[in-house]
Amino acid sequence: MSSTKTPTIVHELALLDGDEYRLPTFALLDPQGMLYPGVESPLLDYDKARRIYRAMLFTRVLDERMMAAQRQGRLSFYLQCTGEEAAVIGATAALDDGDMIMAQYREQGALAYRGFSTDAFMNQLFGNDRDCDKGRQMPIHYGSAELHYMTISSPVATQIPQAAGYAYGQKLANDGHCTITFFGEGAASEGDFHAALNMATVHQVPVIFFCRNNGYAISTPAVEQYAADGVAPRAFGYKMHVIRVDGNDVLAVHEATREARRLAVEQHHPVLIEAMTYRLAAHSSSDDPSGYRSRKEEEAWREKDPIRRMKRWLIDLSWWSEDEESEWLETYRHDVLESMKRAEKRPPPPLETLITDVYDEVTPRLTEQLESLEAHIRRYPENYPRGARALGIDVPDERGEG
């Protein structure tokens, strides 16, 4: 039988379209950064609030500097979190640091919060010999086993059913942890999204599906992505717990995620969170949003900048000051620049990284392929400056390619 519940029977024909089931948005901080009337403060303790805020600031600085570096041709590609720091970091802060994060690509703030070092960011961005990916993936595809942050994969949405599976493993291991997966409202259109939410509710796994609804998938506005009122109402189709939250309100995001984590870990109820936010920057360094949206729209959202809002709240509590802000900004800028210089200078990964990690052990055929490549590079070292360098052969400097 299809359901244990017996639905009511009606004899009048009436087609519903769900419009009546409009989900409200949960918010605690108003657009100016003041608590809404009746909301009690503080909702975060001093240490955590500052840890969150500093991660937000760092992320903003990192994004600004690296986009500038990309514009200068120092970096092949970059992608900003700008505008979505509260959503990403507020959610991360509500988790245990041992919970698994399976992100899409715009969630560097989560890594910053968990303590991924500036050098670790830079080494990945420059694909050098210390890149966590060993120079195999484009910039921004970070990963850290230590920090429980799954290495980013470019195909969107693939991480969503994986998060359900990972969380099922956590449930089997009974280790008290959960998994959060971040994804965009665009990614939520993929078949993998449907698969994931359905399997998560059927198998009751401790997973949080965190949708960053930032209004765009590259140039495609959300109104061309779906016809409904956002992504949140899809939860009803799976009987999944759901909450929509103001994604630029760090307190609300934190609170919602904290409760979601409780449901996930204590009751094995998966939860969908839809954070309403806005991608203030271009999609990536390859994109120019002036082709598809107005300055006016951007300006309106800049007014709701999540960092400005949190700062106001912190300053009102006397937990932060303009002086501290300047100091930290200075420190972060300096850190990023120094670290970038170091990362740029580091050698490329060794040549053998071309064939390792395809399997746990290198196969005979791969060994042959590497040997023949090595011999070839030794014949033409000047055509393969990186390969030659990796083989310890002295060749003229590389000509700028990324």
């Binding site: 990916d133 693939t158 956590q170």
Partner: protein, 325 residues
Amino acid sequence: MATMNMLQAINNALDTAMATDDRVVCFGEDVGSFGGVFRATSHLQERYGKARCFNTPLVEQGIVGFANGLAAQGAIPVAEIQFADYIFPAFDQIVSETAKFRYRSGNLFNVGGLTIRAPYGGGISGGLYHSQSPEAYFTHTPGLKVVVPRDPHQAKGLLLAAIRDANPVLFFEPKRLYRASTGEVSEADYQLPLGSADVLKTGDDITLVGWGAQMTMIEAAVEFAEEQGISCEIIDLRTLMPWDVATVVESVVKTGRLVVTHEAPLTGGFAGEIAATIQERCFLYLESPIARVTGLDTPFPLTLEKEYMPDQWKLFEAIKASIEF
């Protein structure tokens, strides 16, 4: 030792894997209490509980996506795809994710624990969508291992090796032989090596290479050939990715002739890879062109299935043509 058919051997391998490592988890469409539409997972839910053997919703991309995550977490998922023909909705999860997980993460993460089982192949009146042999879609995908057993003994030993291998393995089961192939299978916990071909029979005049259900076709064809005084060497590749080039090269250096066979269509099939590699490595030893005996370059038919199949008579003709070249 017990007499088992291939399904029983597979069921026994799964049972052994689950008994010896409680991280092993089996799931897929109908694999739970029902035990799978072919009954390969019979009794596993009963023995190991619903948490370790369960039905999934009908969504292959979800099954493999879930399995990838579960493997990344450290569990050892054995996911069933009900028919190899229905593996394609999971293609992205397999090709983009499973295969590249370790490499792209610089070995920080891997899904090495994952095994995907799927019944493949024709000869059961299954038509287009219950007959396909999709191995070549995966042998072009570095990071995957692809394994195909030919009989119950091989099935158990290779499946246990696949489950315990530190790399993701696609395990294609020749469903035509599920019940048709029976033999003595040890009840002990044993493994057969991945990545190594099996020389079933040595011979001097010609080498025959195949895998899975085609081995029965090869054996029948070789009987005809040997009656005619042609001495045949038979190689079961067993693992298609990464395949055992050395064993095939060694054989062809000796015999000078090679016939490769598979059920999948000719163009782009794995026999092409073998032929391309062997003509390169054995160029000066080859006495006739390498022949491929395969399905036609069409979807899989129904009424004229027998005509479509690369059977023992087609193989025998190819052997003769090669010898007489």
